[in-house]
C-alpha cells in the first residue's frame, strides 16, 4: 500500500474502497471477540470458508470476522448482510444449512433466530431485539461492520475523516474548545472533564509531552474497553492522534493488560496498518505533524489502572501509585506533562469531531454527556455489553435491555463500578445513570461494570468477595489500604462464619471510613464502598448474620446446614455416592441422612438431587 499523501488522497482512497465493495454482495459476519472465541467462533468461521469453497461461490460471498457485538450471552453471532439476518448461538453443524438455505435460497432458518424470553417473539433483524432496541450505540456501532484487522473497513465507515478535519481545518485550540463544549468526561471512572484536562496539559511547561491511553481494565465483570480494543482499534488510534495534535505531543503509549492477548494483537496490526497508510508516524497526511504510538503491556496488576501507578509501570518501575498533588498533566511520565485518558474516552473523540460538540452534548443529562458502555452481567437474562445514553434509568437497563432477572427470581440490587462501587437496591432503580447521581447513592460510575444480584445472593458474601479482591490487589504501599483492608476482611470473615459480635459492625464501619479517608490512591479510597453501601441499604442482613447467625440468602457456608427431607427422599443413593466427605448415610430405597459433623456444606448433594430432597436451612443446628 502506498502512503496516503494528503487530505484529498485519503478521500480518493476511500472512494476507491467504496467502489470496490458491492453493498448487495452477500456478506457473512461472524462476531469474534474473546467471548465468542470461547464459544468456538473460529471453528465456525473456518467451517463457513470451507463450505463456501466447496460450493464454489468464494467470489460471490464475503466472509468477515468482526469484533464483539455486545450480546455475549448469545454468541457466536452470525449476521448476514445485506438483509441483516441475525443468527445466534451458531455452531459448526448449522453452517452448511445457513449457506445453502439462507445464502443460496434466501430462506430464514427459524431455530437460529433470537426469541424474546418475555414476549416469545422471534426477531429476524438484530436491531429490533429488545436488548439492542433501547441502546444508543455510538461507539459500538462500527463493531458490527468492521473487521478489526482491515483498515479499509474502518476507512469506508468514515474512518480518519475526523483526523483529516482536525489536522487541516482546525487549530489545536479549536479542537480543545470543541471537546470542552461537548461536555465529555473521562470514562475511566472519575469523570474529569476531558477538554479541561487537555487544556491544562497544553498549557503545561515543556516541549516534550506524552499521551497515554489507559487500557488496563481490571474490574471483575467489566470488559467494555476490551470490546473496543478488539473490535475497533482504529477509533482509539484516531482519537489519540487528534488528542496529541491538540496538546502538542509527539509520542503516545497504549498501556494494555497482558490478559488481553487478542486486544494486543489487533492493536499491533492496526498500528502497523495506520503507519503503512501514513496515518501515523512522521508527517501525518503531509501536515507536518508527527506522532507515534507504542504499546506497553502490563504485568497483571490491578492497581496499574490507577493513573500514577500506570505511569510508573510504563517507566519500568514497580507499579505503585503516588500522591497526585502535582498533577500528571504537569509532571507525569518521566516527569513530563502527560495526558492520560481511558480507551472509551479516546474512542469518543473522532465521533465528537465528526458530529460536532452540539450533537454530543444533546445526549445525556445536565452534567454527564454522551453515551456510556456498561457491561451488564450477573443474574440477568440478557448479559452483555450495552451502550446507553447517560441519564437512562437503572430500571430501563435491567428490565428493558437486560430482560429482567434470571429464572424469574426477585431482583435484589445492582452493583455498579466494580470493587470500587457500591450496591444500589431495588427502591433506587429509578435512578438516572450519571456520574453525580450514582455517587450520591453511595456507588460510582467506575469504568462501567454492572452486576445484577438476585435474592439468592448474600450481600455480606458479595462484600467479602470484593474486599478479598482489593486485599489481593492492594499494592501494599500505604498503611490504611494494606492493613485496613486486611482487617476489614478479617472482620467480615468473622461475620460470615458466625463468630462476630454486634460491636464488630461498628468497628467495620469506623475502619471503613478511615480507609476511605486516609488511603493514598483511588483503590484504597474506594475499597470500603461495597461494605459501606451494603451496610447502608441492607443493614438487616448484616445484623441477622451477627445476631441470629443466619444467612437469609443461604450462601455463607458456615451459617447454613444441609439436611434430607425424609418424605421426598427416595433413597436413590446419588448424593451418597457423590458426597466427597462420605457424610451421607443410608440404605438404598430408604431415606438417607447427613452426618453434620462431616458435612463441609459444599452443596454437591443439593445440586444433584433430582427430587429436591436436600434442604438448606440457616441458622445451623435446626433439623
Amino acid at each position: 500500500m502506498k502512503k496516503i499523501k494528503n487530505r484529498e488522497d485519503l478521500e480518493r482512497v476511500r472512494k476507491r474502497i467504496v467502489k470496490k465493495s458491492d453493498p448487495n454482495k452477500p456478506c457473512i459476519t461472524i462476531s469474534s471477540g474473546t467471548c465468542c472465541r470461547a464459544y468456538g467462533c473460529q471453528k465456525v468461521t473456518k467451517a463457513f470458508i470451507t463450505e463456501i469453497e466447496k460450493l464454489g461461490i468464494r467470489d460471490k460471498v464475503e466472509v468477515k470476522t468482526t469484533g464483539c457485538l455486545g450480546f455475549c450471552e448469545r454468541g457466536p453471532i452470525v449476521v448476514i448482510y445485506p438483509k441483516g439476518i441475525y443468527y445466534q448461538r451458531v455452531t459448526i453443524e448449522d453452517v452448511s444449512e445457513i449457506v445453502t438455505e439462507t445464502i443460496l435460497n434466501g430462506k430464514i432458518i427459524d431455530r437460529l433466530l433470537y426469541i424474546d424470553p418475555v414476549s416469545g417473539k422471534k426477531f429476524v433483524n438484530g436491531e429490533e431485539i429488545s436488548f439492542y432496541k433501547k441502546q444508543m450505540r455510538v461507539l459500538l456501532k462500527n463493531n458490527w461492520l468492521i473487521d478489526p484487522n482491515k483498515i479499509e473497513d474502518y476507512i469506508i465507515n468514515c474512518g480518519y475523516t475526523a483526523l483529516s478535519n482536525a489536522l487541516f481545518k482546525m487549530t489545536p485550540e479549536q479542537i480543545i474548545d470543541t471537546i470542552k463544549r461537548s461536555g465529555l468526561r473521562g470514562r475511566g471512572g472519575a469523570g474529569f472533564p476531558t477538554g479541561v484536562k487537555w487544556e491544562n496539559c497544553r498549557r503545561a511547561n515543556g516541549d516534550l509531552k506524552f499521551i497515554v491511553c489507559n487500557a488496563d481494565e481490571g474490574d471483575p465483570g467489566a470488559y467494555m474497553d476490551r470490546c473496543i480494543l478488539e473490535g475497533n482499534p482504529h477509533s482509539i488510534i484516531e482519537g489519540m492522534i487528534i488528542g496529541a495534535y491538540a496538546i502538542g505531543s509527539h509520542e503516545g503509549y497504549i498501556y494494555v493488560r497482558h490478559e488481553y492477548p487478542l486486544a494486543v494483537k489487533n492493536l499491533k496490526i492496526a498500528l502497523n496498518q495506520a503507519r503503512e497508510y501514513g496515518l501515523l508516524g512522521n508527517n501525518i497526511l503531509n501536515s507536518g505533524f508527527d506522532f507515534n504510538i507504542k504499546i506497553s503491556i502490563g504485568g497483571g496488576v490491578f492497581v496499574c489502572g490507577e493513573s500514577t501507578a500506570l505511569i510508573t509501570s510504563i517507566e519500568g518501575k514497580i507499579g505503585e501509585p503516588r500522591a497526585k498533588y502535582i498533577h500528571t498533566v504537569e509532571k507525569g511520565l518521566w516527569n513530563k506533562p502527560t495526558n492520560l485518558n481511558n480507551v472509551e474516552t479516546w474512542a469518543n473523540i473522532p465521533i465528537i469531531i465528526n458530529k460536532g460538540s452540539k450533537w454530543f452534548s444533546a445526549i445525556g443529562t445536565e452534567k454527564s454527556k454522551g453515551t456510556k458502555i456498561f457491561s451488564l452481567v450477573g443474574k440477568i437474562n440478557n448479559s452483555g455489553l450495552v451502550e446507553v445514553p447517560m441519564g437512562i434509568t437503572l430500571k430501563e437497563i435491567v428490565y428493558e435491555i437486560g430482560g429482567g432477572v434470571l429464572n424469574g427470581k426477585k431482583f435484589k440490587a445492582i452493583q455498579t463500578g466494580g470493587p470500587s462501587g457500591g450496591c444500589i437496591p431495588e427502591k433506587l432503580l429509578g435512578l438516572p445513570v450519571d456520574f453525580e447521581k450514582l455517587k450520591e447513592a453511595g456507588s460510582m460510575m467506575g469504568s462501567g461494570g454492572m452486576i445484577v444480584i438476585d435474592e439468592e445472593t448474600c450481600v455480606v458474601d458479595l462484600a467479602k468477595y470484593f474486599l478479598n479482591f482489593i486485599l489481593d490487589e492492594s499494592c501494599g504501599k500505604c498503611i490504611p489500604c494494606r492493613e485496613g483492608t486486611g482487617r476489614l476482611s478479617e472482620i467480615v470473615e468473622r461475620i460470615t462464619s458466625g463468630k462476630a459480635k454486634i460491636e464488630d459492625l461498628e468497628l467495620l464501619e469506623e475502619l471503613s471510613h478511615v480507609v476511605k479517608d486516609f488511603s493514598l490512591c483511588g483503590l484504597g479510597q474506594t475499597a470500603p464502598n461495597p461494605v459501606l453501601s451494603t451496610i447502608n441499604y441492607f443493614r438487616d442482613e448484616w445484623e441477622t448474620h451477627i445476631k441470629n447467625k443466619t444467612c437469609p440468602a443461604l450462601v455463607c457456608k458456615e451459617l447454613i446446614q444441609y439436611y434430607v427431607d425424609n418424605e421426598k427422599c427416595t433413597g436413590c443413593g446419588v448424593c451418597k455416592n457423590l458426597c466427597p466427605q462420605k457424610a451421607i448415610l443410608g440404605e438404598l430405597k430408604n431415606p438417607h441422612s447427613i452426618v453434620q459433623d462431616r458435612c463441609i456444606s459444599c452443596g454437591i448433594c443439593h445440586e444433584n438431587c433430582k427430587y429436591n430432597a436436600i434442604i438448606l436451612s440457616s441458622p445451623r443446628g435446626k433439623n
Binding site: 498533588y325 490487589e473 504501599k477 500505604c478 498503611i479 494494606r482 492493613e483 485496613g484 486516609f518 488511603s519
Partner: protein
C-alpha cells in the same frame, strides 16, 4: 524566594512557598505525628499519620502534609475530629501489626490509644520504607528494596541473598522504627503498653525540687523497684 500566606487552625501564617505543608506546620510549631517521614529523605507518604484537613475553594479535603506543597490561601486544620480519629485508628492498625515497637507504643500513648481491637500479629516490619530510602538516597547503595504486593510485601535484598553492594553500614537498622529495643513497660511483649499514658511521675512527690515535664527521663523509674508504676 516567595512567601505564601495560609491559615493554620485559624491563625494566619506566612511561610516559604517551596515548603511542604508538613515543613511549614513544624516550622510554626504545630505538632504533627509522623512515622515514615525523615528530614533527610524524600517524602514517601505511606504512614498517613501526617494527614491534615485543608479548606480550598471547593470544600474540605484530607491531604498528606508531607507531600502537599503549600499554596496561597489554604486554610489548614491539623487536629479536627475526623483527622484525630483516623490517626488513632492508623496507630491501632500499626500496633496490631508490630506491637513491640517502642516508637509505635509511644505514639499510641501520646494519642491516647488505649485498646487494640484487632488480633495482634507480631511482625518485624511496618513497611514504612525508611530503610529502603535511606539506603538508596543517603548511603548511595540501594541494597534493599520492596518485593511482593499487598500483604505479601516485604523488604529484602535482591533474590534474598547477601547483597554485594551492601556495605554493612547498619544505617537501615539505625533508622528503623520497629527493630529497636522493645519498650520496657511492665506489660508483657506483644501487647499495648500504655505505661507512659498511665505514668504518674513520682518525682513530684519524692523529689519536690525537680522540675518534671513528663518527658520520660526515667530517673524515677530507675531508682524505684520494678513494676512499681502506678495506674491511674
Amino acid at each position: 524566594m516567595g512567601i505564601v500566606t495560609l491559615k493554620v487552625n485559624g491563625i494566619e501564617a506566612r511561610v516559604d512557598e517551596s515548603w511542604t505543608l508538613l515543613e511549614a506546620l513544624r516550622f510554626l510549631g504545630v505538632e504533627i505525628p509522623t512515622l515514615c517521614h525523615h528530614d533527610g529523605l524524600t517524602p514517601y507518604g505511606v504512614c498517613r499519620l501526617c494527614m491534615v484537613e485543608i479548606e480550598e475553594n471547593r470544600g474540605t479535603k484530607l491531604v498528606t502534609s508531607c507531600l502537599y506543597p503549600v499554596k496561597e490561601g489554604i486554610a489548614v486544620k491539623t487536629h479536627t475530629d475526623r483527622v484525630v480519629k483516623g490517626r488513632r485508628m492508623l496507630v491501632e492498625l500499626m500496633l496490631a501489626r508490630c506491637p513491640n515497637s517502642k516508637t509505635l507504643q509511644d505514639l499510641a500513648s501520646k494519642m491516647g490509644v488505649e485498646n487494640i481491637r484487632f488480633k495482634m500479629k507480631n511482625e518485624d516490619c511496618i513497611l514504612c520504607g525508611l530503610c529502603v530510602r535511606l539506603c538508596k538516597e543517603q548511603m548511595m547503595s540501594g541494597a534493599i528494596g520492596f518485593i511482593g504486593r499487598g500483604e505479601k510485601r516485604e523488604v529484602v535484598t535482591p533474590f534474598r541473598t547477601r547483597s554485594e553492594i551492601c556495605r554493612n553500614c547498619g544505617a537501615c537498622m539505625y533508622i528503623c522504627p520497629v527493630v529497636e529495643l522493645p519498650c520496657r513497660g511492665y506489660n508483657p511483649q506483644g501487647e499495648l503498653c500504655n505505661s507512659c499514658l498511665r505514668f504518674v511521675p513520682e518525682c513530684v512527690d519524692k523529689y519536690g525540687q525537680i522540675m518534671c515535664y513528663l518527658e520520660s527521663c526515667g530517673s524515677c523509674v530507675k531508682k524505684g523497684e520494678k513494676n512499681e508504676l502506678v495506674k491511674t
